[in-house]
Amino acid sequence: MQTNSESRLREEARKLLATGAVEVVVGYGRGHGGEGVRPLFAKSADEAGGLVFNEACVHNLATYLSKEPCRQMMLRGGRVGIVAKGCDARAIVVLLQEGQISRDGVHVIGMVCEGVRGAGAEDDDKAFKCRGCGVVTPPLYDTLIGDGDATGAAPPEGDPLEDVNEMSSLPREERGDFWREQLSRCIKCYACRQACPMCYCETCITEKSEPQWIDKPSHPRGVLAYHLIRAMHLAGRCVGCGECGRACPMDIPVDLISRYLAAEVEGAFDYRAGMDPEATPVFRTYGEDDPGDFIG
């Protein structure tokens, strides 16, 4: 099925670029030596021919929207086309909510997606985030591409929170040990931050030295603080695309933390990030009957 939507995607991209409706289409192209896929910035109708869409398209391209050069392009009044799966589109919604992009600055080519392959291209099983995915059809798009009746498509079986729940079910000590071991590998390369579409601050709090809430030196000190504060900064904003985990060169499952917190936030405040551009982000408001039993 992918092939069919792939051709329709190219066609759509060509049209958009040919008519000048957009200056660039951010999508997926064939990877080096035909291996897998990599982000492709198609600036012309011909380049649009190189666009692909298949099970390897795990990247969340929304990351590029709030960063250079797309940001500049949009500020100059240009329009950016972007290929977005459900999860990617959720990220775009958050960017809209937070005023990082303007609605008419983007043309979202929404892809009906039945799941993509997880990190490590050789295994064939779907990424965790795809299991029981709630957004087979993107919550936001200008063009929707998907075979036949979108609603017919179904996400892979399974519980997206399986790994999270596994972790939560462990005794607290074991969780502590797990993270101690995992985070001890962290080299503060901040790849997780760079990969995250929600981390668009030009100067991140981690760069701040007056005061220095997060110790910067390449030393394990400050690692836990970094990951805690990162998680809090993503709470109620993380769309669970898992890019942070995928980006980690030390294979630390950082996405586990933000996906866990996203689930907790949804449970407590009935808010799921990136579903509705009109919704008030969960930490910009409050409920008088929010849970408060923990307060003495």
């Binding site: 500049q72 937070e98 990082q100 709090i205 005061p211 910009r284 408001t285």
Partner: protein, 666 residues
């Protein structure tokens, strides 16, 4: 280079008894940046203060920590002292070693250790204090009063008489409000009109007063001292500059509609002046009912008008004004009779509400003061007054007491007895609440002198037969069911928030309670202020109020305004949020969480593209310094003066450093 002075207070024995003050001073002397550290019996005493002042000068200190009582106690004292010595007051901090230390601990060792750490924290903090200047906001010396009832009139009069130009807007065609409808007022029974109209006239003729009647508040921008308000002058279709108020148009107008002012007991014309003493005494044309506007013909008023003042093309006009303060005095309404089926759903013509009865008693009213039955014009020989209709009634009405009904019902029953000597008056009540000067006596007069029969109980049903009203109720004191055959029934309907109050509140960014009454900043200590600086409350828009309360509250609000406008500049504590635009991402989480609307959007040029982008700006005139915007600002672009990131960080840091020292000791 920091030059900090530490002054440790004994507070007599209050501190010294539990804390080794000498040890504290001694330890403090070794803290980085500390150039002077002493202890003394009473730092707040004159000699104490003199000592501090001299030290500041001699050692020219860049910061002071007074280790003594709670800053909530003496911070102002020592900051004032600093000011006198040309040390910026915000370079003074207090270490609370009394309330938080000596008074709550027994162990001298522990208390001393804690005192030392506390001082250490404050020293670190003060090292990062920056001199702050009081924020001076220019003040527009002009006030706006919303609502032209007695509260609004009184507030406006106090203001103009104090020399403050005041704009008053009233949505009906005349000022006067509910009080203008009243006949006589409790507890003195003096004529409402007689005491009100002089005030109306005085205001309308005052050179500093600008009246906008038949007008509404369209929008409010800005902040305390600097509001920009839009006033919508609804189209009157009558040019008041030309109009002489001769009234010919009113005579000629063929269209009659029930008069709001007479509460439906009489008609008015479509072009009308609501009541004889109206201010201004010039008509407006009600387009809802005017034949010209509804059927496109007639035009009688335009033909008859000798000065061509009638203008069917007249349109709403919006004028903008700058004001420094706003007084809200939008008054109240009363609950609809249609709510009470047992009292005939408002279909029984001889069942009146309190205001209708007032109009009936009024010499200038529809019956020229004769009390008659609307159904047949007969003089009622038996009148039943029912209190708490909709008040203290959770199920259908309001749970609160409407406060004024007990008194005006007593008044009504009296007025009736005075006009109909042989008449019988019954009052059904739950309690009689007559708190107020001369109030209890007033009610007693009704009972003792005017022989009004008070029955404790509710009325379960009123039905009409052959022109007689059958009033069935319980007398809970005698425990009997009673049925009274009455000619007229008067309901003391609950006082409710004025229609549209909530919407107005949103425009003004002030809070309404669940019933639509405006919420004061503090129920006891700030009763006429709101949570929005520069906006004040007067009268029944805040809660049910009688005339004396409304008037005194109006004067209170006016004096608050005068205080605010007394200086050309408004001085505010500089402990406010500031934005580092280089870090701001323009996500405006701050805007969402700021309870004061201090976070504004300012246009900036994007350095790379030259495109226009938005950054956050915290308006120091509005910011109250709560710091809610800091935690939601991920890049830390916002900071809070006086409780800055650096200051708090350093407090945490130094505190926990001392933990490490302990660790190493182990």
């Amino acid at each position: 280079m920091a030059r900090i002075g530490v002054f440790v207070c004994h507070c007599g024995s209050n501190i010294a008894a539990t804390v080794d003050v000498r040890a504290v001073a001694e330890a403090a002397s070794r803290f980085p940046g500390v150039v002077h550290s002493v202890e003394y019996r009473y730092m707040c005493s004159d000699p104490g203060q003199k000592m501090i002042a001299e030290t500041i000068r001699e050692k020219d200190l860049t910061g002071v920590v007074v280790a003594a009582c709670s800053p909530r106690m003496h911070e102002p004292t020592f900051r004032r002292l600093a000011e006198k010595t040309e040390l910026n007051p915000f370079l003074v901090e207090m270490a609370n070693i009394r309330e938080h230390c000596s008074w709550v601990h027994d162990d001298r060792g522990e208390a001393t250790a804690k005192a030392i750490e506390t001082v250490r924290m404050l020293v670190e903090k003060v090292r990062r204090n920056s001199p702050l200047e009081q924020i001076r906001v220019p003040v527009t010396r002009r006030a706006l009063v919303v609502g032209g009832g007695i509260a609004g009139i009184q507030a406006a009069l106090d203001l103009v008489n104090a020399g403050v130009e005041t704009i008053l807007i009233e949505r009906s065609p005349s000022i006067g409000g509910k009080m203008a409808m009243l006949d006589e007022t409790f507890p003195t029974l003096d004529c409402s009109q007689c005491i009100l109209t002089p005030k109306m006239v005085e205001l309308s003729q005052h050179p500093l007063a600008r009246l906008y009647t038949y007008a509404e508040l369209d929008g409010v921008e800005g902040y305390v001292g600097n509001f920009k308000v839009k006033v919508r002058q609804k189209a009157r279709s009558v040019d008041h500059d030309k109009c002489t108020g001769c009234g010919l148009c009113i005579e000629k107008c063929p269209s009659r509609v029930p008069s709001e002012f007479e509460r439906g007991l009489a008609d008015r014309k479509s072009i009308y002046v609501p009541f004889p003493q109206a201010v201004p005494d010039k008509p407006v044309l009600d387009r809802e009912t005017c034949i010209w506007f509804t059927q496109g013909k007639c035009g009688a008023c335009r033909e008859i008008c000798p000065v061509e003042a009638i203008d069917y093309e007249d349109a709403d006009e919006i004028s903008e004004h700058e004001v420094g303060a706003i007084v809200v005095a939008t008054g109240y309404d009363i609950i609809g009779r249609s709510l009470y089926g047992e009292y005939g759903y408002g279909k029984l013509v001889d069942v009146l509400d309190g205001l209708q009865f007032e109009r009936m008693c009024s010499a200038s009213g529809p019956t020229s003061g004769r009390i008659v039955r609307p159904s047949d014009g007969e003089v009622p020989k038996t009148v039943v007054f029912i209190q708490c209709v909709g008040s203290r009634d959770d199920s259908k009405g309001r749970p609160y007491c409407s406060k004024i009904c007990c008194m005006y019902t007593a008044k009504h029953s009296m007025l009736y007895k005075h006009k109909v000597e042989d008449g019988k008056a019954y009052v059904f009540y739950i309690d009689v609440r007559a708190g107020g000067k001369g109030y209890e006596e007033f009610v007693n007069r009704a009972v003792d002198e005017d022989r009004v029969v008070y029955l404790r109980g509710r009325v379960s049903r009123i039905y009409e037969r052959d022109g007689t009203l059958f009033v069935k109720g319980a007398d809970t004191l005698s425990g009997h069911q009673i049925e009274i055959r009455a000619d007229l029934v008067v309901l003391a309907s609950a006082v409710t928030a004025a229609e549209g109050a909530r919407e107005l509140g949103q425009k003004l960014r002030i809070i309404s309670d669940r019933y639509g009454f405006f919420t004061e900043a503090h129920p006891k200590l700030r009763p006429v202020e709101t949570n929005t600086a520069g906006v004040f409350l007067a009268g029944a828009c805040q809660a049910p109020r009688d005339i004396p309360d409304s008037v005194s509250q109006a004067s209170a609000a006016a004096s608050k305004v005068l205080g605010l406008l007394s200086a050309d500049e408004l001085v505010r504590e500089p402990l406010v949020a500031r934005v580092n635009e280089d870090l701001c991402t323009g996500c405006f989480a701050c805007e969402a969480v700021c309870p004061y609307g201090a976070a504004e959007r300012v246009k900036r040029e994007d350095p790379r593209t030259g495109a226009e982008i938005e950054k956050a700006y915290m308006n120091p005139g509005v910011c109250e310094g709560c710091g809610a915007c800091l935690p939601v600002c991920r890049p830390g672009a916002v900071d809070l003066m006086g409780f800055s990131e650096n200051q708090i960080y350093s407090e945490i840091n130094v505190l926990t450093e001392s933990f490490k020292v302990e660790d190493e000791a182990k």
